[in-house]
């Protein structure tokens, strides 16, 4: 994703959470941090590498989640 909408994060370090799972700490240039399971990183990536971060809407998953919640709302509150 090139151009003005590109977003990069540095893999700052890899930590372990309380259950022993490896956690990647991604650091954005404005200082915000994102912690996520290291297994979700692209293969071959590691500390001090820059990741290009891209977002895309997932209409199918959005609809599935919204429908699941709507079903629960209907079961609980009617309508």
């Amino acid at each position: 994703m090139a151009g003005s909408r590109a977003l990069w994060a540095t893999v700052d370090r890899i930590e372990e959470d309380e259950r022993g799972e490896k956690i990647a700490v991604l650091l954005f240039d404005d200082g915000q941090q994102l912690h996520l399971p290291a297994r979700l990183l692209p293969q071959g990536s590691g500390p001090q590498q820059l990741l290009e971060v891209a977002f895309q809407v997932d209409p199918k998953e959005t609809a599935r989640r919204a429908a699941e919640i709507r079903r629960r709302q209907q079961q609980l509150f009617g309508d």
Binding site: Q32, R65, I69, R72, F77, D79
Partner: protein, 311 residues
């Protein structure tokens, strides 16, 4: 064999029934006191804004020992490390009502953990369409599996019983829900007004311009000495018109220290200041408690030793 006097037997049975009723009533009251943590003889109501950072969680306990929590912070840790320990310190073993103003993460994030950590009588929800928040999904799942009573919050249609002497009004949302605004979920949030005696507190959730305008359109008395300031002190909340209608003496702002949104906004603080509203902030004051005795109120804070009396 002697036969008893029928009148004496009837009297004895009546006496026995009265004693049984008194004992049962005593156990019910004792159970209510034990569950709510209310101190026997304490006739004050308590409203506490918990310090959950850039999020909301407000606890209410009435003189009758009824309890209500409005929102549950941003994440699991808020429930586990702040809200549940606070409730335990207060001796609260059950929440009568858990109110979710709207399903944004800074209000619903701690709810699954909270529902795992304490029994809840009823779950009060704005029931908005198109929601995908997973914490909300998990909260609904727990409400279902635990058999908690679901209550759809709608203006004038849902009744919450906070016990004798305390009135709770659900002022918003109302059908049809708003479909426009900077944040539809915020504008359709649950706004409640709690009144004990001559003292009222209005909890404005995260409503902004559209929500405030809709509320003001009813042209009703919403004057409240205590205002939980809307949307963490956002500029688009607490308009001059809204503040004029509420006419608060005290403004309570739940906000995280050094939050990246710059809340509360200077303009909002100035609007409150111009109306001589004494403002308390969780980022500066920590936990903020208001004790209401039905005629007057006292504000006390965890940090900076703040205390203010009013009536």
């Amino acid at each position: 064999m002697r036969r008893g006097n029928p009148n004496r037997i009837a009297l004895s049975l009546l006496l026995l029934a009265v004693v049984a009723a008194v004992v049962a009533a005593w156990f019910l009251v004792a159970d209510s006191v034990r569950r709510s943590g209310a101190i026997p003889g304490d006739t004050s109501a308590l409203l506490t804004v918990l310090d959950v950072g850039q999020a909301d969680s407000i606890f209410v306990r009435t003189p009758a020992g009824r309890t209500m929590l409005v929102d549950a912070g941003n994440e699991r840790a808020d429930a586990e490390k702040v809200i549940l320990p606070f409730l335990a310190r207060q001796g609260v073993a059950k929440l009568d009502y858990l109110v979710l103003t709207h399903p944004d993460q800074d209000h619903v994030g701690g709810m699954p953990a909270l529902l795992d950590g304490i029994p809840v009588g009823a779950f009060v929800d704005s029931v908005q369409p198109g929601i995908t928040n997973q914490a909300y999904n998990q909260a609904l799942q727990r409400v279902q599996s635990k058999g908690i009573t679901p209550i759809k919050a709608r203006r004038g249609k849902a009744e919450l019983d906070l016990g004798t002497g305390v009135q709770l009004q659900i002022l918003e949302p109302e059908d049809p829900l708003l479909t426009a605004g900077s944040s539809v979920a915020n504008e359709n949030g649950v706004v409640v007004r709690v009144t004990y005696g001559s003292v009222s507190a209005l909890l404005a959730a995260d409503i902004g311009k559209e929500g405030e305008e809709r509320l003001l359109a009813h042209n009703e008395n919403i004057r409240s000495q205590i205002l939980k300031v809307g949307h963490h002190g956002s500029e688009t909340s607490s308009s001059n018109e809204f503040l004029a209608a509420v006419n608060p003496e005290v403004g309570l702002i739940s906000v995280g220290a050094g939050n990246s949104y710059g809340l509360p906004k200077t303009q909002t603080l100035q609007r409150l200041q111009r109306r001589n509203v004494a403002t308390y902030r969780t980022d500066q004051n920590g936990i903020i408690s208001v004790r209401i005795d039905g005629r007057a109120y006292t504000v006390s804070t965890e940090r900076q030793g703040e205390k203010r009396d009013g009536r």
